[in-house]
Assembly symmetry: C2
């Protein structure tokens, strides 16, 4: 079976640091056939090491070239919905870097576009492909902690003004809900939802403790999962990096770390090794298999990405209105 | 200076296991001059080892005897407000086991009674006298973690149906707000408030996961402290015992444990030893000093105890109404 011809749109951090290395490992599945970027210069530099990649002056020209089987979008968040629509209008499969959209309203449009199309719309959420997430879910499904009851997720990603992400112009003046809170937060929610299940309702408090761009850099959320698990999600982009992720069950506790999972129960503590993968290779492989019809698009489904975004947006909304937000009514379908 | 003559009212778990041993160490300050209990038998057995303790058939008779300088109330929670009032009506100082009252409405009455009296009304909250709490507060005040930003408090007290507390008849059919949630919860909130400061607003989710008495046995709360610190408080009486208490600041993290405090910062981790005291001796000493006029009643002040209770009651109310609760308006003064 021949490779899929992929057109990369946007040559920023995500494309350079995450997509390009993953695709280099998957050259039996994808051929980077085209590259485009708002400034042509960056596209030229990006394409230098890619054999046969054609440089396009615009996304429109790439689409009209009729040379692609699929589009890889790594553009500023606010462009995602429109650019996904354009790919579908040209009958192309599309993988788009998370979050699905700048806000839930726009995200719903992407879900609807996807439902009306027979092409694959894949929202690339690499955290759904982390080895630790899959293994944590499996341990719970096997009953290792019996009934899960509580989740504690604390993330300080260790962002600073000098960080490469914080320097992105569209991140400096964010159009997307909550700035870093949603941009980074969808990752954490995606992993939580994969392991624990869908979130029913949330509460939130916001904070601003650093001079990072955006209205808020901190969020304290209460989570009520549909299966009755209760949880807290605290995130701050203004703190020194630190991470803690625990799932408490009736008969044990899982501590999920980057390279291992500790399973504590009455009989002691067991360390389960996990690969410290970043999930990008796996998400492109999954996209490929979905296009080939070998599997459902369950991990990149727009509705999943919408639920991730909705949890964060609802947490921020709750902080502003003082009301608990039910995610189903917040999403509205 | 002569001892204070103390009348103990109620000879249940708190009097036997907590107050009696503390008072035995403070026999230069207190003399247990009288004992009363609903069933006389229990009072007799309690007083057996106490030289000169007179047994009274009722609280009223103890008050009318005119033999006491102060009253120690260790009675079912719902009796606290009325019994405090009776002590004050007889011109007696009174120390009363937490929580201040079965609910905030009743608690406000105690605050008002106390304000109108020149006697000491002391709500005995032993967690405000834990060595670890005082030392954690001091470390923060000294700037060891710079500005505190987040708190994570998780407590599974390890309650079971067979537990002595769970067997108390008035705990089996609780009249007090949230049953165990407020009975135990005021301790945790008291310690949090001592270390971090007053709580501005809360939200909550409740849960019930065990067959313990009461409508709920679990609570997940979000805390917004008046100084801007954000926090989560998760408690469950239905889980196997486990405890975690962390305060995160701009330049370090405190982990508060029963016998030590870990201070982690850029320069490594330092263990600060603390006495694993239960705080009962200290609270009676403090009560004594307040009566003698040697210090303010700051740690046993009814308003402090009311704020502890209000946080829990507001968390439960928030879970039921779906609204964030502002503590000042929840308390109403």
């Amino acid at each position: 079976m021949s490779n899929l011809k992929l057109g990369i749109v946007g040559c920023g951090i995500a494309a350079r640091r995450f997509h390009r290395p993953a695709l280099a490992e998957l050259n039996d599945k994808f051929e980077i056939a085209g590259v485009t970027n708002r400034s042509r210069e960056k596209a030229v530099s990006f394409a230098e090491s890619i054999d046969g990649a054609k440089i396009f002056d615009s996304y429109e020209k790439m689409l009209e070239s009729d040379l692609m089987d699929a589009i890889d979008l790594a553009v500023p968040i606010k462009l995602n919905p429109k650019f996904i629509e354009m790919a579908l209008d040209h009958g192309l499969n599309v993988i788009c870097e998370k979050p699905i959209a700048p806000d839930v309203e726009e995200g719903k449009r992407v879900v609807e576009l996807s439902r009306k199309s027979d092409k694959v719309v894949y929202i690339a959420e690499n955290f759904r492909h982390l080895d630790r997430a899959g293994k944590a879910k499996k341990l719970i499904d096997q009953g290792e902690i019996a009934q899960p009851r509580f989740v504690s997720r604390q993330v300080w990603p260790g962002m600073t003004r000098k960080n490469e992400f914080a320097q992105t112009s569209w991140r400096k003046n964010p159009d997307h809900a909550g700035g870093f809170l949603s941009d980074g937060g969808v990752h954490h929610i995606a992993e939580l939802r994969l392991i624990v299940g869908d979130i029913g309702s949330v509460f939130g408090f916001t904070g601003k403790i650093s001079d990072l761009p955006g209205k808020y850099d901190s969020l304290e959320m209460g989570l009520n999962f549909e299966n009755g698990v209760l949880g807290s999600y605290k995130v701050s982009y203004g703190m020194e990096a630190e991470d803690s992720f625990k799932i408490h069950g009736d008969e044990g506790t899982l501590r999920v770390k980057s390279d291992s999972i500790s399973l504590s129960s009455g009989t002691g503590t067991k360390e389960i090794q996990v690969n410290d993968n970043d999930g990008f290779k796996e998400e492109f492989e999954d996209f490929y298999e979905a296009i080939r019809g070998n599997k459902e698009n369950d991990l990149g489904k727009p509705m999943e990405a919408l639920k991730d975004l909705a949890a964060i947006e609802a947490g921020i909304a709750s902080a502003e209105t003082g009301r608990r937000e039910e995610l189903s009514s917040f999403i509205g379908f």
